[in-house]
Symmetry: C2
Subunit: 447 residues, 2 copies
């Protein structure tokens, strides 16, 4: 294939964002994306294939986005990387030279060492269509499903398989609560679990999996407390590992958490190689320390830094805030930055402000929901460290208001003077606006 | 009634927010709100009384909010203010002393000097229930309605009366487009007008009203271009004037635009008297110059500054950004800060960035809408000056993300690195997130 100015390995959201950013900043460069999947799935949409969307074809990344920007696409797996010669070798035997390389190789699901894991009908959440088609054809013909892992992916699969397909879903989470490992504080985790219970998902928290039992296929999941769950299939969603085999083989430095080590400009230990997305070790916006945060939105941020910096340093990574949202039974749960628990564990003297408001005003407006907001502040400086809320289906962007406050290190007093737009049919009232009132509540507590 | 530590004149959203903030900051003070309305309406909800809500009782400010915070309420009109004696006289003949006074007297609708304005069935949009009941009983028995003024209130009334009541609604706006006077740029104004047309509102822009014709009641509205609109009633919504009679009589200084003059701590020319809301002259966050912005959300901001500063200066007003949102035919239109037009008029070398994205991802998710985002930057510093968008019904909070960017004087490069949370069912994708991509587009144009 010859030589390209920019070669990007990986075509999921980080690779895509990196390619588009590189194009925006370097209009005359030759850019190639090498992706191993014939058709690439929108990663966050995967749980929704199994319910709301109903098909793989409805969850594809549109390749025209690349061609429209004059970015070439090659479907092949990269087998090796020769840094001295600045070239990659793909599984179809081709060699491609690069001037700058971006690794966006993503992650692979973590497979816990549980006895019986080799049995049939036990699935991980991979991103490849052929694998997921096996999962789909299984789910199509079963009644009982056990999901191991109550993180975002686990609860989204649980919710879709229960609500849209009517399966009997049991969810197993080793931590005391679902989403606890994803940064929600306990009071919100409890609400997530209530929402899941209300749609009929059975929840087993504080217990791990002892073994998978059955003849050839899984028939039973044995929990560490002795309880046994009858099942037709198992979905494992207990976490992700950075996919770093290519980087490692090429001798690039890895970080303490196993991801590719990058500087604040997203450069790896080789100045001509950048990396972004799940394959990269992240550092905390707050403490600067390594932090595990595998989110498409985080990858897209890193991609926009890597893509802009390829030939000239233009952007710095301030560290990852970590902003999540999800929905169960028409309720939104979201979090940005540190939870109260994480703030205390990080050594902050955390003060919490809370507020409740109806999502529209007056509260007699149609489709009203209650918004419950919690903000976490560092009491020694008054600076916001994090925020979480539960709200109606139209509050998805509210967590991004919280994120903006964190990103700009606003204080409680700043947030109490936030200038928001409000409208009866769209938001809480100017008097009850929960972001502002939670800040005011924290100020009261800080004295 | 004796003497109170804090007396607040006015019980609409600014008065309410001022009282609640005063209580939060000064838990031991005696606080009284004096309000002239027996029952106070949620101001922004008024257009919705005539459609979606359907009754006055569904749009009331709940007085328990005050009593729960140990704030007293007196229903009476304040007739005069004696600054030397620090007391007010109410219409029921009572005298109330104060230590600190907050004026939140609001605004009254502007009544343009048009020939025939005295005819029956011509209404302004006042906030008092008895007056609006007259409007309601008229609207209940008519077919044809002319609304004069295509600002937010005008288009919301037009939308409600057309869509929920099936009236034949004609909307007259003297500017070239609806909402142009409220800070939207032309391309969005055109979309607002299209949405209004789609529900059957007839729009007459670029023309004023020459006269109202009819025997005793209005029967015809004659426009300045000679066109005549047959009608049963007229609603006038061409703007608001600050209600400053009490302040003026008491000798408080007024600003150039007619509102009460305040410093950045919301103090009037009398250090014991604060003011907030529509009765106050506002200054621009950008230029510091006086700016007309009568919004409940702006009033609430000022109220939170005034209430906190009563006995000790704690908060400063950085100037008003101006953040609006509204909805027509299930489409949201919103604006924060300066429009492109206003930015150029203020002397900035404005550069615009634009982006379009589907509101959920993949775009095959249910209830998807298109979001069209425009950001305006000062090209000499790269700082954001404003933003506008059109989107689906769940994008109401997106304008507050824009507002946060403005408030923190973020640059296009900062916004291109925004850390947002995204979710398939709730937001645009991390790759297409329109705020970020509009910033990237502006960067490209700034070169």
């Amino acid at each position: 294939m010859g030589r390209f100015d920019v070669v990007i390995v990986g075509g999921s959201s980080s690779g895509l964002a990196a390619a588009l950013t590189a194009r925006a900043h370097y209009p005359n460069k030759e850019i190639l994306v090498v992706r191993k999947e014939e058709r690439a799935l929108v990663p966050c949409g995967i749980p929704y294939i199994f319910g709301t969307l109903g098909s793989f074809s409805k969850n594809l990344i549109a390749d025209q986005v690349l061609s429209k920007q004059n970015i070439q696409l090659k479907v092949s797996e990269v087998k090796s990387l020769d840094r001295a010669e600045k070239k990659i070798l793909t599984s179809d035997g081709e060699t491609v030279g690069y001037d700058k390389l971006i690794l966006a190789t993503g992650s692979v699901p973590y497979s816990p060492p549980v006895q019986g894991s080799e049995k049939k009908n036990i699935f991980l959440i991979r991103k490849e269509i052929p694998y997921l088609q096996g999962l789909m054809s299984t789910i199509d013909r079963i009644q009982d499903l056990v999901i191991v892992g109550g993180g975002f992916i686990g609860i989204e699969f649980a919710s879709e398989c229960r609500k849209k397909r009517g399966l009997n879903v049991s969810l197993v989470e080793v931590l005391p609560h679902c989403l606890m490992g994803s940064g929600l504080d306990e009071e919100f985790c409890v609400e997530v679990e209530r929402a899941l219970s209300e749609i009929g998902v059975r929840i087993f928290t504080g217990r791990g999996v002892e073994s998978f039992e059955g003849k050839t296929g899984v028939e039973k999941v044995k929990l560490t407390d002795g309880k046994e769950l009858r099942t037709d299939a198992v979905l494992i969603a207990v976490g992700l590992k950075p996919e770093v085999r290519l980087a490692e083989k090429a001798g690039l430095e890895l970080g303490r958490t196993g991801g590719i080590k990058v500087d604040r400009y997203m450069r790896t230990s080789d100045p001509n190689i950048f990396a972004c997305g799940d394959c990269v070790e992240k550092s905390s916006f707050f403490t600067g320390k390594p932090v595990k945060l595998m989110l498409a939105s985080v990858g897209a941020l890193e991609a926009r830094i890597a893509g802009a910096n390829l030939f000239e340093i233009k952007r710095e990574n301030p560290g990852e805030i970590g902003v999540f949202s999800t929905t169960v039974n028409e309720i939104v749960f979201a979090s940005a930055g540190l939870s109260e628990r994480a703030a205390r564990e990080s050594g902050y003297r955390a003060v919490v402000g809370e507020a409740i408001a109806s999502s529209k005003h007056p509260r007699t407006m149609p489709n009203v929901a209650e918004t419950k907001m919690k903000l976490i502040f560092d009491s020694s400086t008054g600076t916001i460290l994090g925020g979480q809320f539960r709200g109606g289906m139209d509050t998805g962007e509210l967590i991004n208001v919280v994120s903006a406050c964190i990103l700009n290190r606003m204080t409680a007093n700043d947030i109490a003077r936030f200038q928001m737009g409000t409208h009866p049919a769209l938001t809480s009232s100017p008097v009850t606006y929960p972001l502002v009132n939670a800040a005011e509540d924290a100020i009261k507590k800080m004295g």
